[in-house]
Symmetry: C2
Subunit: 350 residues, 2 copies
DNA sequence: CTGTTAGCGCCTTCAA
DNA sequence: TTGAAGGCGCTAACAG
């Protein structure tokens, strides 16, 4: 059923070498032989064994991708971009979803190394530094995305500080003086940078930083929901909330709904990360939209460069973030339905 | 940097055979030698080369996954389940997103076969039959998910007919007499089954089937949006719409919003496929929620069974679908925010 | 232009 | 309990 070069060479009555060369186009072969070989290949349905090829060449043209949770739309979008770019450049993606669990993160890297991926892309956990150190010991090229655990490796992330700062400044300009921040796990660079951006914006606006308005450690909608309730139970509750990512925004939205608070009239809400269908939430969310597509593409490009030349100095890329003003910040957005739904491909036929 | 069994055997001064056996625990080794070997392994950081191993064993413990568009939340959820189950059972997933393009579908399968995956999971396009036939010629185990292109292969899908029928019957019972259907590409079994279920429900209710109320071929939100506008432009527009999947629901929702039509007061809307955040859409969508998790798990299990025993007769699994009644069908849902958000994992800490 | 041959790293029979 | 040796399928010197 599964055939080999040798089968082809026997059937075409040529040497194994010649077959290899016509398959790979790696040296001139006379028309006559080439025709015979091609006929034989078709006849027995030969498909090259890239395992053997990889073993010989010590290059698998495979990239490992280790990520938190592909169900988070933000990561989904990145995975999509990574896969597409990798495929375009002739690489296949090995996928591992490690659910923010450092132990599973290490497992994933081990599996990838055993499979001799040519390089790997990782959104590191708070324990990522150790995982990356292990990788370094094996000389495997890697690029970090979304978060930074080890500046000794390449990375491509976004300007978390600046974007959060703009989000918060916008809220300040609309007159809010008690602005709460729903932050993530402080072991992650993203969380630290976003919280720092928040603080900075407050200071810029001459507003005090009230520790009671900063909640960190939320990593799922449910914890954000609970945290939001706690925030609103305070004596002097916030009039605006900044969600550190999309999952936290969902949780906040749920809590707000449960209290029948109106957004933005009663409480304003802005969030990091956009959803492709953010225009269908009510209220429509004002967000800091990350360039997921570009991020994925850059990450693959960086990685392939490094695979080609492992001696390169670490390269650090920070991409800009677009603030999408919709309703939840208190701005009356233009048309009731924004015509731009950037992440959803347009149809080709009805 | 990357070391081999031979390196270990030299350092530990034992035979290569012995090292292999301690690594794989495949035959008894004396305490003394084992200790030496293990020390050597640690010392040089040996990581097995699974490429070589796979070549020798002709089994890669790899599964190929070929799917339309991981950005569709429905597929995202399935990919998540597949990856998790595969990992639990010691397999790694190779990912290929082929964007509903038959040419890219074939490419993906070819790449998978070249990489000698042990089996593959595919959500076939309308051209899937040809692709699967090619696979059969190579004797590669495969299971279809979501859609059926070749009953000669295993599959696990959901009861599209019955679920759509229940959705439409519900609408009929609420008094709707002009119910439109937004169907997908009729080359896909899902689309055919769902449209058939719709027709069946109308007949059961003694209602005429108006061809003008059935639109097929939408595959993206944008085409569904346009189709919805066309539907509403008719002389006798529908009072209810059934979206054949989640993307079509997004499009319909946008069109409805653009016309300032209220759901469900002016037009009712129900949809196949649930979203994890469906509770945050306004109106909250009534949906036929597929058991994505179970589907993924069954698919992997079926595939591994078949890999073990390729002689098995084709196995066909059809899973039930849960109708989630929310507001968009005209039912006043209970609490304003449903406490069940099944696809979003609960937090472990705040 | 074509063929012979030596591995890539590993598993496993066979022999000791 | 241990080791030597052949071969999985392929590529690329090297030789004709």
């Amino acid at each position: 059923m599964i055939t080999t070069l040798k089968d082809v060479s026997r059937l075409a009555d040529v040497s194994l070498t010649t077959v290899s060369h016509v398959v790979n186009g790696t040296r001139p072969v006379s028309e006559k032989l080439r025709a015979r070989v091609e006929a034989a290949i078709r006849q027995i349905g030969y498909t090259p064994n890239s395992l053997a090829r990889s073993l010989k060449l010590s290059s698998s043209r495979t990239l490992g991708l280790a990520i938190q949770d592909i169900r988070n739309p933000h990561f989904t979008e990145i995975v999509y971009a990574l896969e597409e770019r990798a495929r375009e450049r002739g690489f296949t993606l090995l996928l591992s979803d490690f659910g923010d669990d450092p132990a599973r993160e290490s497992d994933a890297l081990r599996v990838f190394v055993e499979r001799r991926v040519d390089g790997l892309i990782i959104a590191p956990t708070s324990n990522g530094a150790a995982a990356l150190a292990w990788l370094r010991g094996r000389g495997v090229p890697a690029v970090q995305i979304d978060r930074i655990a080890d500046p000794g490796f390449d990375y491509v992330v976004v300007s978390n500080h600046a974007a959060t700062r703009r989000l918060v400044t916008h809220l300040c300009q609309k007159g809010h003086r008690r602005i709460a921040m729903l932050g993530g796990l402080m072991g992650l660079s993203t969380s630290r940078e976003r919280v720092a951006g928040y603080r900075r914006a407050l200071r810029d606006a001459g507003l005090p930083v009230d520790p009671g308005l900063i909640v960190v450690g939320c990593s799922q909608p449910e914890s954000a929901r609970i945290a939001t309730h706690a925030l609103l139970d305070q004596a002097a509750p916030p009039t605006a909330i900044v969600a550190g990512n999309n999952l936290k925004a969902l949780g906040a939205l749920r809590a707000l709904g449960e209290r029948n608070l109106r957004v933005p009239e009663d409480v304003a809400l802005v969030s990091f990360d956009d959803f492709p269908w953010a225009d269908l939430f009510r209220p429509r969310l004002t967000t800091a939209a990350q360039p997921c597509r570009a991020l994925g593409e850059r990450a693959v490009d960086l990685l392939l460069d490094r695979i080609r030349d492992p001696g390169l100095a670490p390269r650090h890329v920070r991409l800009g973030v677009e603030i999408r003003h919709r309703e939840s910040c208190g701005c009356a957005a233009g048309a009731p339905f924004s015509p731009t739904t950037p992440h959803v491909p347009t149809s080709k036929s009805v």
